[in-house]
């Protein structure tokens, strides 16, 4: 189709006079070309290939993949481990997104209030977000450390526990650690979105409500939260997508363990593909993983289109 257009408008890129739309669009396509090539080579092609591999048996002992139809999916359906990974992912995504949402929104509202040192505090609170994922994992692993960790020391000091807990060695403790780490490092991003949304809030409307005698809670409920609704939706969608994809901090903290307690889909696919080298099966899990990402992704794109 692009070639057709070029044939219909045989103009040189230098002959740019108004109205020569064909030449214009040809330059536009030319500018797009490098990115399109890169996109196809490292994103689109690998993606399509991985989807295709889900229909093959392909392990480390094999020279070439062997077509087996939907057998991989049948194997998944019969695998309690994979089902457990889905359940773990659901818990992780739900808790991490909800936690970040509440704390991120609260922090944005606090940072929107004028007080001394606010600007500095706001800048500093972006730090968790820019730290390398391995570093975030180190910090939290050290806090949760069973022998010298500050968390155990603190909880024993206030009398909540009698004995040091091996947090990262128990299923619940490890889950708590990976969720807290993710909430911690996502609060800055959520806060930034909410602060950007708060900037367009109509101050006069709030002042008017105040004159009518509205307190803080009614102002929040009737004016601020409704105003933030579109941002809220975006943030939830982006948060869910990001949490569904999260790998680095979980792997660095627990490697998906103890046993399989924190093995979310990303870790499951990684382990199947690069530890057991069962490529076909890993791809099949990946396909289902993509399927879970589709609804929020579709929702997000639709909003972007409407926004434009």
């Amino acid at each position: 189709m692009a070639a057709d257009m070029m044939r219909n408008y045989p103009v040189s890129p230098l002959a740019n006079r108004r109205g020569l739309k064909g030449g214009q669009s040809r330059i536009g396509l030319l500018l797009l070309l490098p990115a399109a090539v890169a996109f196809t080579a490292v994103i689109l092609y690998p993606f399509a290939k991985a989807l295709g591999l889900s229909l093959f048996e392909y392990t480390i002992e094999m020279n070439a993949p062997r077509f087996i139809g939907v057998s991989n999916f049948a194997k998944i359906a019969a695998s309690p481990d994979v089902w457990a990974a889905f359940a773990t992912t659901a818990i992780y995504v739900l808790c991490a997104t909800a936690g970040t949402l509440v704390l991120g929104l609260a922090w944005a509202l606090l940072m929107n209030q004028p007080f001394r040192g606010r600007v500095a505090l706001r800048s500093l609170s972006l730090l968790p977000w820019v730290l390398p994922s391995t570093v975030s994992a180190f910090v939290w692993a050290w806090i949760f450390n069973s022998r010298y960790g500050v968390l155990n020391a603190f909880l024993m000091e206030v009398g909540l526990i009698d004995m040091p807990q091996a947090w990262l060695s128990t299923p619940q403790g490890a889950m708590l650690a990976v969720i807290l780490t993710k909430i911690w490092l996502s609060i800055p991003l959520f806060m930034s979105f909410f602060l950007a949304g708060l900037q367009s809030l109509d101050k006069e409307q709030i002042d008017a409500a105040r004159v009518d005698g509205a307190g803080n809670w009614p102002v929040l409920r009737d004016h601020i939260l409704p105003h933030l609704r579109p941002v809220l939706i975006i943030v939830v969608v982006l948060g869910v997508i990001g949490n569904l994809q999260q790998f680095d901090t979980i792997y660095a903290l627990t490697q998906g363990g103890p046993v399989r307690a924190t093995t979310v889909l990303s870790v499951e696919v990684y382990k199947r593909a690069f530890e057991q080298w069962d490529i076909g099966f890993a791809s099949a899990i990946g396909v289902l993983w993509v399927a879970t990402l589709m609804p929020p992704a579709f929702f997000y794109l639709r909003m972007l289109v409407k926004g434009n």
Partner: protein, 278 residues
């Protein structure tokens, strides 16, 4: 926004500020504090809240004894190169989407953006054999090319939203003077686009600097290893528990990205939240 003149409101405000602030800042404080504690002070059942005898021994050791400088250098090369590559690709593509009209423009752009939601781990499954076939496995070039995956879609969109705001009149005026499209882009549009370009560069730099998964998988030999897996392999294993060293190395690994970010955070936030907020 809120009226804090009443005592109750003030109390709630302060409690919330203290609570969330503690959650956000305590880990960073603890990271810094632990990196300057000596080993005897570090390994106590009841930790000291403020270091009694601050020391830089962990930093000295990390910089001289280990392979940290090499990992940092590798990360700098790989992240710098991939950020340059992504920025250049995204510049032309974003400008093309914003200022040219051709069939399929919007669907193509949205499709590219939606690629941000393809699971990176899934892409890696076929990137790995691809790199292996091309002889790029365990090379810096292979890793640089793979890092396009992370940041290119959003970078393109960020630059697209910026270029959409550049007035058409500016371009039309130059065009009327007979300047070619590429010349207009390079001499008129680019010079006024420094902040978004820097933002996109930093954004993609951050993605590759902070990556663990791709580097851990695509790089095998130690001399090409980047900082993410380098830290993990050096400090986090069952036998070795050098927490002071881990904290010092963490700070050194975070320093470049944190410093860059401090100077550019305003542009950065605007860029990242662009498109989501009307």
């Amino acid at each position: 926004m809120f009226d804090l003149s009443s005592r109750q409101a003030k109390t709630i405000f302060c409690v919330a500020l203290a609570f969330i602030g503690f959650f956000l800042f305590f880990p960073i404080y603890w990271l810094v504090i632990s990196s300057i504690k000596g080993n005897t002070e570090l390994y106590r059942a009841v930790p000291t809240p403020v270091p009694l005898a601050p020391t830089l021994e962990h930093f000295v050791k990390a910089l001289t004894a280990g392979k940290l400088p090499m990992y940092l250098g590798n990360s700098l090369i790989v992240s710098g190169a991939s950020a340059c590559l992504v920025t250049i690709l995204a510049l032309y593509a974003g400008y093309s989407f914003a200022k040219y009209r051709y069939a399929g423009r919007q669907p193509v752009m949205l499709f590219m953006l939606s690629a941000q939601m393809f699971p990176f781990g899934l892409l890696l499954i076929s990137l790995y054999p691809m790199m292996s076939n091309l002889g790029l496995l365990d090379t810096r070039l292979g890793l640089i090319l793979s890092y396009i995956v992370f940041a290119m879609p959003v970078s393109t969109y960020m630059l697209y939203s910026y270029f959409s705001q550049v007035p058409d009149e500016l371009i039309d005026a130059a065009r009327a003077d007979g300047a070619s499209d590429l010349r207009i882009f390079h001499t008129i549009v680019l010079p006024i686009s420094v902040p978004p370009v820097v933002t996109v560069f930093l954004y993609s730099f951050m993605w590759s600097w902070n990556d663990l998964l791709y580097s851990m998988t695509l790089i095998v030999s130690d001399d090409k290893r980047t900082i993410g897996p380098g830290l993990l392999l050096t400090y986090l294993n069952e036998v070795n528990s050098d927490w002071g060293g881990a904290m010092a190395a963490s700070l050194l690994a975070s320093a470049p990205i944190v410093i860059a970010f401090m100077f550019l955070q305003r542009y950065f936030i605007q860029g990242v939240t662009a498109g989501a907020i009307k």
